[in-house]
């Protein structure tokens, strides 16, 4: 790719989806958006496959001066993101053609895609944040697309968290930008060093960590994940779980002061949170009763493991290069597998004349990959473990980290088993349009093969170590399977609702519901009561507002001249007394 093509390709990658979305402005062209939408990710995919890192394009006119370009890490991110969007798009094609709101969906789809690609390619803070926001808010339209009750609830939770997240990110970015030399045109690359030197560095790190954590499913900020993954259309869920969750990860990678010394406490906090997510996600996930919820908690759990890696990076900056590779591989591996799993939940529902065996092999591949048995999984695990144990750089307390990760892998296996088991119940209910198969097949193949493309981006993992890691990878799988069998035989899942703690966080509905059930009041009555209470609170607020309004108007309306005169008199008298 030469010097002329590179900038064009960089511009086309986010530009094509954006341009397609803008076609909506012309009513006559609107019907053409639908067929074109799945292909919008192709320029990005081509760029990821054939582009060279290092090329940048400066867009002075954009925002307060933007810059886009690619680094080695972001190219990998671009690859799996584009691929997932492409496959999910292909998958959803037939499904959408029957939809009344196809055009609306496609516009949101394209905007989300543009945002996702934009944030990967952005080199400066403003464009990064812009793309991030674009993706976040456009995705809302995708999540609530079905307009079902569940989708609307998911959308509400998603939006509230997203807005909070955006606010936190903005706080962090402004504070961080101020710390850089050029607060009005800050580059992402300058942030880590600037944050490390900033006086408000803890505030900055907290804001950014939590802000991006909303996307990355940090514990207690994760509620939108299971709800959204469960309620959104399947291609959207695949994109959310595969691509967009990694935007949060990318956010951490580019903004947190990784590789800077002096953040051991933060490392500890992040690792601890990661472990909580890894185990908590697994524990809650196995109790879920729908495959997509299981997958959602699996994502939370997996992101917990990545968090551990991030935390390790903060704790031991010297491990940076190794951890960077590990995190990149992890991201690639998890994204593709998770996307394949999500698309699989749709595929399996369709009646088909193809041999069922192939279907289940296909469904099993990403599950195995996540459990750590496919090449990608193996490589991920060994690289991560290798990085964590390299040179005893990690603080003492974390010596058992590989073991803990292994234990978490048991949970992953159990989750996968649970997932496949639940999937079995949903098999063969609808007719499947062919496109659904294509997308799924594409992404499943990529799950297997994607990891072998790594050298393309200059990442040469230790393949042999991967092979050597098989024994290590086996015991969690075995243990997980045993656990699963045990659970299947003798345990009943707890009825943990998909948004788990959120139900507790809003204690009123839960408590009232419990209380009502205890005395035998039925559901609708409770709901009525709840709605009444909500209305009452709202009414009180409105009434307070009304009175304030009336008071302020009354205070001023009749007596405004006198009040102004009083102000004047006071000021004048004071003025004369001193002057």
């Amino acid at each position: 790719m030469n010097a002329v093509l590179a900038p064009i390709a960089l511009l086309l990658a986010p530009g094509v989806p954006l341009a397609l979305a803008l076609l909506w402005s012309f009513p006559r062209l609107r019907p053409h958006i639908g067929p074109l939408a799945p292909w919008a990710a192709i320029p990005a995919l081509l760029l990821a496959l054939f582009g060279q890192p290092g090329a940048t394009v400066e867009l002075d006119w954009l925002l307060f001066g933007a810059q886009i370009g690619m680094t080695g890490t972001t190219q990998v991110f671009l690859f799996f993101t584009a691929l997932i969007w492409f496959a999910a798009g292909i998958h959803g094609r037939g499904h959408l053609s029957k939809d009344d709101h196809c055009e609306r969906f496609c516009v949101f789809w394209l905007l989300t895609l543009a945002g996702n690609i934009g944030l990967i390619l952005a080199l400066d803070v403003a464009l990064f944040y812009t793309s991030f926001a674009l993706m976040t808010f456009a995705a809302y339209g995708l999540i609530v697309h079905d307009a079902s009750r569940a989708a609307l609830r998911a959308g509400r939770v998603y939006l509230v968290l997203a807005v909070l997240g955006e606010a936190l990110i903005l706080t962090g970015l402004i504070l961080a930008a101020r710390a850089t030399g050029a607060p009005l045109l800050p580059m992402l690359a300058d942030l880590p060093a600037a944050i490390a030197a900033a006086p408000e560095r803890d505030l900055i790190i907290a804001s950014l960590w939590l802000g991006f954590g909303v996307k990355a499913g940090l514990p207690l900020l994760h509620f939108s994940l299971p709800l959204a993954y469960g309620a959104a259309p399947v291609p959207v869920a695949a994109a959310l779980a595969g691509a967009m969750i990694k935007a949060g990860l990318l956010g951490w990678l580019v903004t947190l002061p990784l590789g800077q010394a002096g953040f051991e406490q933060w490392g500890t906090i992040v690792i601890a949170t990661g472990l909580i997510a890894a185990f908590g996600g697994a524990l809650i996930g196995v109790n879920q009763i729908r495959p997509r919820f299981v997958l959602a908690y699996s994502s939370i759990s997996q992101m917990g493991m990545v968090s551990v890696a991030i935390g390790a990076w903060l704790s031991a900056p010297e491990l940076g290069p190794l951890l960077a590779v590990a995190i990149t591989i992890f991201a690639l591996h998890h994204s593709l597998a998770k996307a394949a799993l999500f698309l699989g939940t749709e595929v399996v529902r369709h009646r088909t004349r193809r041999p069922v065996l192939w279907l289940w092999i296909g469904l099993g591949i990403p599950a195995l990959a996540l459990a750590g048995l496919m090449p990608s999984g193996l490589l991920t695990k060994t690289t991560l473990k290798g990085a964590l144990t390299a040179g005893n750089a990690m603080p003492e307390v974390w010596n058992n980290l590989p073991l803990l990760l292994g234990l978490a892998a048991i949970g992953t296996t159990a989750l996968m088993a649970r997932h496949l088991w639940l999937l079995r119940l949903e098999a063969g209910r609808d007719d499947a349009p062919p496109a659904a198969w294509h997308g799924w097949a594409l992404i499943t193949a990529a799950t297997v093969l994607g990891v072998f493309l790594l050298p393309l981006w200059g990442i040469t993992p230790d393949w042999l170590a991967g092979v050597g890691g098989i024994p290590d990878a086996l015991w969690p799988v075995a243990a997980g399977l045993l656990l699963a069998v045990f659970a299947w035989r003798w345990l009943k899942p707890w009825p943990i609702p998909p948004a788990d703690v959120l139900v507790l966080l809003t204690p009123l509905p839960g408590l009232v519901m419990r209380a009502g059930q205890a005395v035998g009041v039925t559901g609708p009555a409770i709901q009525h009561l709840l709605r009444h209470l909500q209305a009452l609170a709202l009414d009180r607020y409105r009434r307070a507002d009304h009175w304030i309004g009336r008071a302020s108007v009354h205070l001023w309306r009749r007596d405004a001249p006198l009040l102004f005169a009083l102000i004047l008199a006071l000021l004048a008298a004071y003025g004369l007394s001193i002057g």
């Binding site: 001249p561 102004f564 005169a565 004047l568 008199a569 004048a572 008298a573 003025g575 004369l576």
Partner: protein
């Protein structure tokens, strides 16, 4: 010599026209204005030209020496008043020419009275001796009373009677004061008094009588009771003339006296007291105006309020620095002229509105803005000046008075100006509020002749323009005044 022939003409001409109009048949009386107005306008402009070329001077009528001869002062103040009178009276006359077609009985005596009124006013502006001022006052006052009585309704007659009694009482008080002054100093000339007057009991009593009489004639609160019925109840052009000019005449005399005797002889207490009365007028008049239900009564009370501003002059020039005095002088004169123009415009446009809806009630103006935008626009422009909002003469005046008040450290007058402005906004917008209201009574309205609207609009525009070009009139007005040197 330029300027000479025109000075006596200023009152000789209206006098002879008045007599002439009594002699001709009633149908011809209105037409005399087409002879009289151009001549008087020319004479006024000539006087201005005279002032510009030879500066302030004293004109001796028939070259007779005082005290038996009559001396006429041609200084900036007098010429300013003359021009103001010419402008307002000419336009009111044009207005009346059309307006009175519907009031044939009133026409007969309106025109002679108008000429006498004009003569009386011009006499006052020019007179140098205090007794001549008295004569001017009487000529003007009697003509004014006659004009109020023109309507011949019981209310108008009662108002005229009340006005007459007040005017007579005021004149007699003034005359007694003049008598005392002459007895004590043997001179009637202002200039002479300024030289010889001493600060003793006689002077003070005389001055008090003169001030009281003039306050009554100026209708300063609380001596204002005669004004609203007289001004509010008269024919529209009469109301305009009375409110715009006639009350200014007595204030003008007061001003002249103060310039001659005031600062040295009257105690500061009097000045402050006059200011307080002015403040009372501003508040009371504004409040009452706001509470009126009749449009012209509202405007009349507005006059009561606006007179109050003029009296802020006295505290602001007594025992204050020269800069504050100059500003107060400028501000008061600006206020006087702006009020004359704006109030005439306000009365005329109010008359138009009343003609349009056929009712003097403010509540009947509902929706009138749709039909009579131009009348309302004139009303609004004049209102802007009365409220003291920019850009208008009223605003410039307020600016100068404020400046003077701050400079002299008398900040309490700020409150007066502040609340006065808001009160006037309240009553002006009361009319607007009604006119913008959409209601059932908006089906049709009578369209008054265009002349009526145009004259009102010219006056209102003049009230605005004089604020924008204030330095020109103020420059002329300062010629020959004690505060002329800045």
């Amino acid at each position: 010599m330029i300027g000479l022939w025109s000075v006596p003409l200023l009152f000789a001409l209206p006098l002879s026209l008045g007599i002439l109009s009594l002699l001709v048949v009633p149908a011809w009386r209105p037409r005399l204005i087409f002879i009289g107005l151009p001549l008087l306008v020319a004479a006024s402009l000539d006087v201005l030209a005279g002032l510009a070329t030879i500066g302030p001077h004293v004109y001796r009528l028939g070259d007779w020496a005082a005290p038996l001869g009559i001396n006429l002062v041609v200084d900036g103040l007098a010429v300013g008043m003359i021009l103001m009178t010419t402008l307002v009276t000419s336009l009111c006359a044009l207005y009346a020419w059309v307006y009175l077609r519907d009031h044939p009985t009133s026409t007969t005596f309106f025109w002679p009275l108008l000429w006498f009124l004009w003569a009386g006013m011009n006499g006052i502006w020019l007179a140098e001796e205090i007794f001549n001022l008295y004569v001017g006052l009487e000529v003007m006052g009697l003509a004014a009373v006659g004009m109020v009585a023109l309507r011949a309704t019981p209310q108008a007659l009662a108002a005229a009677m009340r006005y007459l009694l007040a005017a007579l009482l005021g004149s007699l008080a003034y005359l007694l004061g003049v008598a005392l002054l002459y007895g004590a100093y043997g001179t009637l000339s202002m200039a002479g008094l300024q030289e010889v007057a001493a600060n003793n009991a006689t002077t003070q009593v005389a001055l008090a009588l003169i001030i009281l009489g003039l306050l009554l004639k100026t209708a300063l609160f609380p001596l204002h009771a005669w004004l609203p019925p007289a001004h509010g109840g008269a024919l529209t052009p009469v109301s305009a003339l009375l409110s715009a000019l006639v009350i200014k005449a007595s204030f003008y005399i007061l001003l002249r006296f103060w310039l001659v005797l005031g600062p040295e002889i009257t105690p500061e207490f009097t000045a402050q007291f006059l200011g307080v009365l002015g403040a009372g007028a501003v508040f009371y008049g504004g409040w009452m105006a706001w509470r009126q239900h009749h449009l012209k009564q509202l405007v009349a009370y507005s006059t009561v309020a606006q007179i109050g501003y003029l009296f802020l002059f006295f505290p602001l020039v007594t025992n204050t620095g020269p800069e504050a005095q100059r500003l107060a002088w400028d501000g008061t004169l600006m206020m006087l002229i702006a009020h004359a123009l704006a109030k005439a415009a306000l009365f005329l446009s109010a008359g138009n509105l009343i003609l349009a809806v056929g009712s003097p009630q403010i509540s009947h103006l509902v929706g009138i803005s749709r039909f009579r935008p131009m009348s309302l626009f004139s009303f609004g422009l004049a209102g802007v000046s009365l409220m003291g909002l920019p850009p208008s003469g009223g605003f410039t005046a307020k600016w100068l008075l404020l400046h003077s008040a701050i400079l002299s450290g008398q900040w309490w007058w700020l409150i007066v100006l502040f609340l006065g402005g808001l009160l006037s906004a309240a009553y002006i917008f009361k009319v607007f509020r009604m006119s913008f209201r959409e209601g059932p009574q908006i089906d049709r309205s009578v369209t008054p002749p265009l002349t009526l609207d145009v004259t009102a609009l010219i006056l209102a525009s003049a009230a605005i323009l004089i604020g924008l070009t204030a330095h020109l009139p103020l420059h002329w007005l300062r010629l020959g005044s004690v505060f002329g040197v800045s």
